[in-house]
Amino acid sequence: MIDQMEPAPKDTEYDLYFGPAHPGSGNFGVKLKIDGEIVTSARADPGYLHRGFEKLMEYRTPLQNAVLSDRICILEPLNWNLVHAEAVDELMDIDVPERAKYIRVIMAELSRIQSHIIWYGVFSKGTGFDTGFKMAFGYRDYILDLFELITGGRVYPAGYICPGGVRRDFPNGAKDKILKVLDKMNEMIKLEELENPALDARAKGVGILKVKDAIRLGATGPVLRGSGMRTDVRKDEPYEIYNRLDFDVPVRKEGDAYARNIIGIEEMYQSIKIVKQALEDLPEGEVIALKFKRPKVKDKIPEGEAYTRNEVARGEAAVYMVSDGGSTPYRCKIRGPDFLHMIPVLEYLLKGAQIADIPAIYWSLNICPADMDR
């Protein structure tokens, strides 16, 4: 019997599809070629969630688009509402009242805290630390209850930040509730910072990205700050009232998965600081510009074009809007941070890694497939 067996094959390379129905990947597929235990090449397979947002917005007026803009990235709806509202404000040359600017910044920072909690939760689940997952999603519900009190919806706020201001004012007692929730968040971050030896061993020294490669591949946000470059759209080009607030931008030099996660935790502290400062200085007044208080169907957008940039939780987001005088935008291009993180950066980082390191690299980039496909 032994003489009739075939000789062993010379190469040990095989294909593996880390696909959409996998508990560790979430609606996005990567085709890997593996030799033994080491990945030799990776190719991304996007398109499971493509709806064509840019052309859907050409059929609807700006106030209708504000409701559609919270679904561009499902995990941080209020930040994307803000980018779209700023682009329309610049095109139509509207003065937003002061109280509305403060409320917009408070809601955007609360949404950033909620998005970083999800990042910590799914990173722990992917590397096997189940307690972190349960704890993160338990504490996230405090913020969702706040959103329901102020905007009316737990997850999607139905276009709360619309062009011209915000849709309605804070109800009575909202300020005390926000301060109590921020105390709970402080408690949770102290628990997250306890060093867990299993997480450290899996994330330190894995997936290293140098600064020159990061700029060439198009990375922005926490991924670029983890490699050593000090940049943040809120400090480079301040929008709304960020130039009056006092906060820090955390930066690390190593460029591995552990550095990116620590930046995520430190950014939550800075967001809590921003919300407390904005709540103290909140002025009285109107919350929406007069033109949008009673909108009419015949309102037209004047001719022109505008490009606004913002810092959402995952990186740099931008909207390029062109109008030719009609009542709907002529072209609305949406630039999301995940389009660059999930295709060029991921293919570059996975080359040469081991199979056991794939979840740590994958979840440390803080991906959101809906933002990539639009």
């Binding site: 696909g19 959409p20 129905a21 508990p23 979430g26 609606n27 398109g47 499971y48 969630l49 493509h50 709806r51 064509g52 859907l56 059929y59 559609l68 679904r71 499902i74 995990l75 997952f133 349960k134 704890m135 999603f137 338990g138 996230r140 519900d141 737990r154 997850v155 999607y156 809906a370």
Partner: protein
């Protein structure tokens, strides 16, 4: 002793606790994951998440589908063992929802998969998902 039909006896033996397959699509992700968390704990009802369709009883289609992802969902459905149930969440599965004029989404889910229960909402609250599961248990209890 109540005399029940053969179908009722098999269903009562099999559907005591529901095991769900891990296909968290688009918009449903942000309202199904809190179900697993500690505030709306679903393990007290016996429901857990499994990693392979061959162990699962229920497939949740949680949001809009594109032609590319409905092909994969169909292959997952064919690998599940009888008795199996499909629950459709959200208004995008009923009429196309907010993306009714998009060229790349599916408008009526019942053309592709046999649906048992629809849960309306955009997105539906976790309490609504529990009420749907309770209806399944009640229906199985009342079968004769």
């Amino acid at each position: 002793m109540v005399k029940r039909s053969k179908k009722a006896r098999t269903m009562r033996k099999v559907i005591k606790s529901i095991w769900i397959f891990n296909w968290f699509n688009s918009c449903g992700f942000c309202e199904l994951v809190p179900l697993v968390g500690s505030r709306w704990d679903m393990e007290r009802f016996g429901m857990i998440i499994v990693g392979t369709p061959r162990h699962a009883d229920v497939l949740f289609i949680a949001g809009y589908q594109t032609p590319k992802s409905i092909k994969r969902a169909k292959r997952v459905y064919e690998q599940m063992a009888e008795p199996r149930v499909v629950i459709a969440l959200g208004s995008c599965t009923m009429t196309g929802g907010m993306y009714w004029d998009s060229y790349n989404t599916i408008k009526r889910l019942e053309d592709y998969l046999p649906v048992t229960i629809y849960i309306p909402g955009c997105p539906p609250r976790p309490e609504a998902v529990f009420e749907a599961c309770e209806k399944i248990f009640k229906h199985v209890n009342e079968l004769e």
